[in-house]
């Protein structure tokens, strides 16, 4: 198990390094002064000079790359071009908001998705199954920002049931939870559809297994077979897929944070892009990549731990 984790972590680090190198290369491949590229045409000479210093742009290419990677290894993701605050600090400030959003979306996805999937299986072959299938695929297809906009329109603007802006004041848990509902719904809906299809497929496969025949041969109730046996096998099969995608929930968070004006990694990246704040963008992209890879590793580890067959070999 330890070797397995080490190997995966090693691979993850390699991937991160490659991402960093790609970003670095991208910056240099654009024709023109890299500082202008990075900071935009409206940047002042002082800003550009500071940037040039920070990135060591006068030195040879390989040295720059080495410097860059070394700084990264020390956790120095650069500084905000305008405020000179360390990017890492800024990221850590907003990360909790994005993390809670991702978690809440994940909860939506898993609970509603598993529920829909189970209902579809119970009505396998009948119109209920077909309808849920249609709806699930539609959920996956529709872009999350459209869902965000429409739920904002209906629930916040028209009905005024839920807040349209912000994440609630720190300390006010109720307000925070209320502002979490719509954004997490928007982000999670696509996953609801995806999970429901996955669960349905996995359960249908489970119901075809030999042990189901054994249980039936002893008169065990269908409901128990479905929910205690097939569902468990299905969840174990589906969990790694879902857990890997947890990192991908960050995609939807960008739009949700913008539409609902919430602080978060996505919004920070977006604002940075609009203000040509390249170091911040690079920092968030790297952190996002790292989170994604970390989620994959955690997902693998959790799956391994949950499956008794794998657990015994550890």
């Amino acid at each position: 198990m330890i070797t397995f984790l080490l190997r995966r972590t090693g691979l993850a680090v390699v991937i991160l390094v490659i991402v960093a190198i790609l970003l670095f290369l991208m910056m240099h491949m654009i024709p023109g002064d890299p500082t202008v590229v990075a900071l935009g045409p409206r940047s002042t000479p002082e800003m550009r000079e500071a940037f040039r210093q920070m990135m060591g742009l006068d030195r040879p290419f390989i040295e720059q790359l080495g410097l860059f990677l070394a700084r990264l290894a020390h956790g120095d993701l650069g500084q905000d071009v305008w405020s000179r605050r360390p990017v890492l600090t800024m990221i850590l400030e907003v990360l909790p908001y994005t993390a809670t959003l991702a978690l809440a979306s994940f909860l939506w996805a898993v609970t509603l998705g598993v529920l829909l999937g189970c209902i579809a299986v119970v009505h396998h072959g009948k119109w209920g199954d077909w309808l849920i299938g249609l709806v699930s695929i539609a959920f996956v297809a529709v872009p999350s920002f459209v869902v965000a906009l429409y739920s904002l329109l209906v629930f916040a603007v028209w009905l005024n049931w839920l807040p349209a802006i912000g994440a609630g004041e720190p300390g006010d848990l109720a307000a925070q939870l209320r502002s979490l509902i719509l954004p997490s719904f928007a982000v999670g809906l696509g996953w609801v559809g995806y999970v429901s299809r996955l669960i349905r497929a996995a359960m249908i496969e489970a119901m075809g297994e030999d042990y189901v025949r054994t249980l039936r041969a002893y008169g065990v109730a269908e409901r128990r077979i479905t929910y205690r046996y097939a569902l468990k096998q299905a969840l174990l099969a589906v969990l790694p897929v879902i857990a890997i995608g947890f990192g991908g929930l960050l995609t939807g968070s960008v739009f949700a944070e913008i539409v609902f004006t919430r602080p978060g990694l996505g919004k920070m990246t977006y604002d940075a892009v609009m203000s040509r704040n390249f170091p911040v963008v690079m920092g968030t992209v790297l952190v996002t990549s790292g989170l994604y890879v970390a989620c994959m590793i955690i997902a693998d580890a959790v799956t391994a731990l949950l499956d008794p067959r794998v657990r015994s070999t550890l």
């Binding site: 054994t214 039936r216 041969a217 008169g219 128990r224 468990k232 096998q233 499956d307």
Partner: protein, 320 residues
């Protein structure tokens, strides 16, 4: 004579109205009797076994003149009746013990779930019963096995657990579908011994399905031979093996590797293939050494062999 636990008369199973897997089977299994069904793959013997407990998919239509299990009419049995009967009336063990149990649940949990009917018993009481049943089938460290997962046990051990599960039910009939095919010879011997003990001590009727003639010869009292969905011969085990009344049975015995005399150049086979069942005349006619004109058309009589009224075969030649 006591009433048979399983009483079939004219039983047929047809898939989707198109494919007849079992045609007009008459079979009776009495308490304390061990009946074997032999035949090639595709003869319908496994279908018959599954039909006995109503385990066939909806597309399989079961019909017949009489189909009684422990005194219940199975042709009209609803879901509740089936749930009531499965286990206490008849229990089944399957060919592959490695996949017979859920891989992600402990054996203790699954065995306890099989005791769902005993609602008044506590978890501890059920646990005791399970441990005792495991001990009775010779499982070492029965209590420890409760927390084990199926993958931690060997095939032979799992099949014993399967038999233990049937013991917990105290069924009148045990149906064993190829119980030792996936096991090696030593494990097979142990399983056979268990089955014999069940019969001797509890009077359980046993229906064994197999294509392994040696095992059938060793444990069964009576044997039925199936071919293309029909029972084409039936009788006491010695009679079937010593003086078979149907050419197909004879051919099966000729092909049995264990019975082949040394010095033979090529392994004997039965030429041809199993035809689609339900055609006119005898289904074996294309492959039979003794085929005559009358075999090709018209129904073939089910008649007793001259020497033995308890031994019947579906062949024109058997009475002669």
């Amino acid at each position: 004579m006591t009433a048979p636990v399983l009483d079939l008369h004219g039983l047929s199973v047809n898939y989707g109205g198109v494919f007849p897997a079992v045609i007009g089977v008459d079979l009776a299994v009495r308490p304390g009797e061990i009946v074997g069904i032999i035949g090639e793959s595709g003869s319908g013997k496994s279908t018959l076994a599954h039909a006995a407990l109503g385990l066939l998919p909806k597309v399989a239509r079961v019909s017949g003149d009489r189909f009684m299990l422990a005194g219940n009419d199975m042709l009209t049995a609803g879901r509740n009746t089936l749930a009531r009967l499965r286990g206490p009336a008849a229990a089944m063990i399957f060919q592959n013990p490695m996949t017979a149990f859920s891989p992600v649940h402990t054996l203790g949990r699954q065995l306890r779930d099989l005791l769902w009917r005993d609602r008044d018993q506590t978890k501890a009481q059920k646990r005791e019963r399970i441990v005792k049943a495991l001990r009775d089938v010779g499982t070492p460290d029965p209590a420890g096995k409760l927390d084990a997962y199926p993958f931690q046990l060997s095939g032979g051990m799992l099949q014993r657990v399967a038999i233990a599960a049937t013991l917990l039910m105290r069924p009148s009939l045990l149906i064993a579908d190829e119980p030792t095919t996936a096991l090696d010879v030593t494990m097979e011997a142990q399983i056979l011994h268990l089955m014999r003990t069940l019969r001797d001590e509890a009077g359980v009727a046993i229906l064994v399905i197999s294509h392994h003639l040696g095992m059938i010869a060793e444990i069964c009292d009576r044997v039925a031979v199936m071919y293309a969905g029909r029972i084409i011969e039936e009788g006491p085990v010695e009679a079937i093996f010593r003086s078979p009344g149907h050419p197909y049975t004879q051919a099966l015995l000729d092909c049995e590797p264990a019975l082949i005399l040394p010095g033979i150049g090529r392994l004997p086979v039965i030429a041809g293939e199993v035809p689609r069942p339900g055609g006119p005349g005898c289904d074996f006619v294309g492959r039979c050494r003794h085929a005559e004109e009358r075999c090709r058309s018209g129904a073939v009589p089910w008649q007793a062999l001259r020497a033995d009224p308890g031994h019947h075969a579906r062949c024109h030649r058997s009475a002669s």
